[in-house]
């Protein structure tokens, strides 16, 4: 395992989005002594299958699983991630948005969430990159939104259960919690990322995987 390598992992089906996404990645400050790598997965069978393949292919200690339509604006993003991981060795995963507590319906965006992404209210603000320090709170959460999930340890994605494009994020959050890791979302003055998801989502399979999630983690996700 290379402790000084950070690997971005992106499942992609659109070259244009991927190129734009990587322009923002290459604009980030890289922490001293670290290097970055980008692995892209095309034509993945599912998000979990794509992420598992990339996870096995990289020996980077730090991996950032993200969507192709996420543009990282905070140039200190990588420095911040490393500092947060070093701040508490039990932190296994960092996200930009997350839910401190789930309810029985297991719909992440229908419960209270912490963190943020660029929204209609923040899009007009002049952007200033923010350097995280130990005085800035990080919030412990039960689930991290899959738009971006940064990890410090490799845990297999559940491709045996989540073989589509929904609930892979909540499942992976639960897998980390099962193994005793902390999941956190940092306080962000201005959102560190912009998610160009078109604001509307085709969720035709959402309910199917929601039921699978409830079934798989029924004894854990409400704790």
């Amino acid at each position: 395992m290379n402790d000084h390598l950070i690997c971005f992992i992106i499942c992609t089906n659109n070259e244009l989005f991927l190129q734009e996404c990587t322009i923002y990645i290459n604009n980030l400050y890289v922490p001293e002594g670290f290097a970055i790598d980008i692995i892209t997965i095309k034509e993945a069978r599912s998000m979990t299958a794509g992420y598992n393949a990339a996870m096995k292919a990289s020996d980077a200690k730090y991996k950032i699983y993200m969507h192709q339509d996420v543009f990282i604006l905070n140039r200190y993003f990588l420095v911040n991630l490393i500092n947060i991981f070093h701040f508490n060795e039990n932190i296994g995963m960092i996200g930009m948005v997350g839910a401190p507590k789930l309810d029985k319906e297991a719909i992440m965006w229908n419960v209270y969430r912490v963190g943020k992404v660029i929204s209609d209210s923040t899009i007009h603000t002049t952007y200033e990159s923010e350097l995280w320090n130990a005085e800035i709170p990080v919030y412990s959460v039960h689930a991290i939104d899959g738009l971006l999930m940064a990890t410090s340890v490799d845990i297999p994605w559940r491709e045996d259960v989540f073989d589509g494009w929904d609930f892979y994020d909540m499942s992976q959050s639960m897998e980390f919690i099962r193994r005793g890791y902390l999941l956190v979302v940092p306080e962000q003055n201005l959102p560190w990322c912009l998610h160009d998801d078109g604001k509307v989502l085709s969720l035709f399979n959402f309910n199917h995987y929601r039921k699978k999630f409830i079934n798989e983690y029924k004894d854990e996700y409400l704790r």
């Binding site: 244009l16 989005f17 309810d103 319906e105 990159s129």
Partner: protein
């Protein structure tokens, strides 16, 4: 936050209607593809009018597709381009994927002008945005599925690029989109309007 039971009902309905929604969306994009390939704007407009009058459950599928929203926004811009005889945004594309890619590229380029990216990327954005009409830029800002900031700054920046290249008509259109016009900007708009009148007379 929306009521939980309503949300659950929505997701259950989506799951149950998945097949019919998918068929509807496939037919929609297939028809849109043929209209884009033939560059038939009146037919595209008629199709959207037809859809507005449609009263079926399957039509709901359109509100779950950001691509469908974006094509509607592009259509509005195309109508304006056609009215004022500008080069049409869809002239060099032949299906909805290409059209959406071109529109998404436009959004990315606008966003770059507000970003902290290196100059080479901003320069590329300045050059690219000279190749699309002001109406497309305006459509992106008006599009409910697009996150873009500081419209006035973008309109003015792009207008200045056009003025530098002595392309006063698109510059005038862009400046007219500015929401908060100060006296300096109003004077510039007046000057560009006079210039346009003068050019029209000379052409006649």
């Amino acid at each position: 936050m929306p009521d939980k039971s309503e949300i659950l009902e929505l997701y259950e309905a989506m799951e149950q209607s998945k097949e019919s929604y998918t068929i509807f969306l496939n037919e929609y994009f297939s028809h849109i593809d043929s209209l884009i390939a033939s560059h038939d704007l009146p037919a595209l407009n008629s199709y959207f009018n037809e859809l507005s009058g449609l009263d079926t459950k399957e039509k709901k599928a359109l509100i779950y597709s950001s691509s469908a929203f974006r094509i509607r926004s592009i259509k509005e811009a195309l109508i304006k381009e056609y009215d004022v005889k500008l080069t049409m945004f869809w002239d060099d594309v032949s299906d909805s994927n290409e059209l959406l890619d071109k529109y998404n590229k436009t959004i990315f380029m606008i966003r770059r002008l507000n970003s902290a990216l290196p100059d080479e990327y901003k320069q590329e954005a300045h050059l690219y945005l000279q190749t699309v009409s002001p109406y497309i830029v305006n459509a992106a800002f008006s599009d409910p599925t697009v996150r873009l900031g500081k419209p006035d700054y973008i309109y003015i920046t792009l207008a200045m690029d056009f003025i530098q290249n002595e392309r006063y008509d698109p510059a005038l259109i862009l400046l007219q989109f500015v929401n908060n016009k100060n006296s300096e900007l109003l004077n510039l708009i007046d000057k560009l309007k006079s210039l346009k009148k003068k050019n029209l007379k000379e052409t006649k």
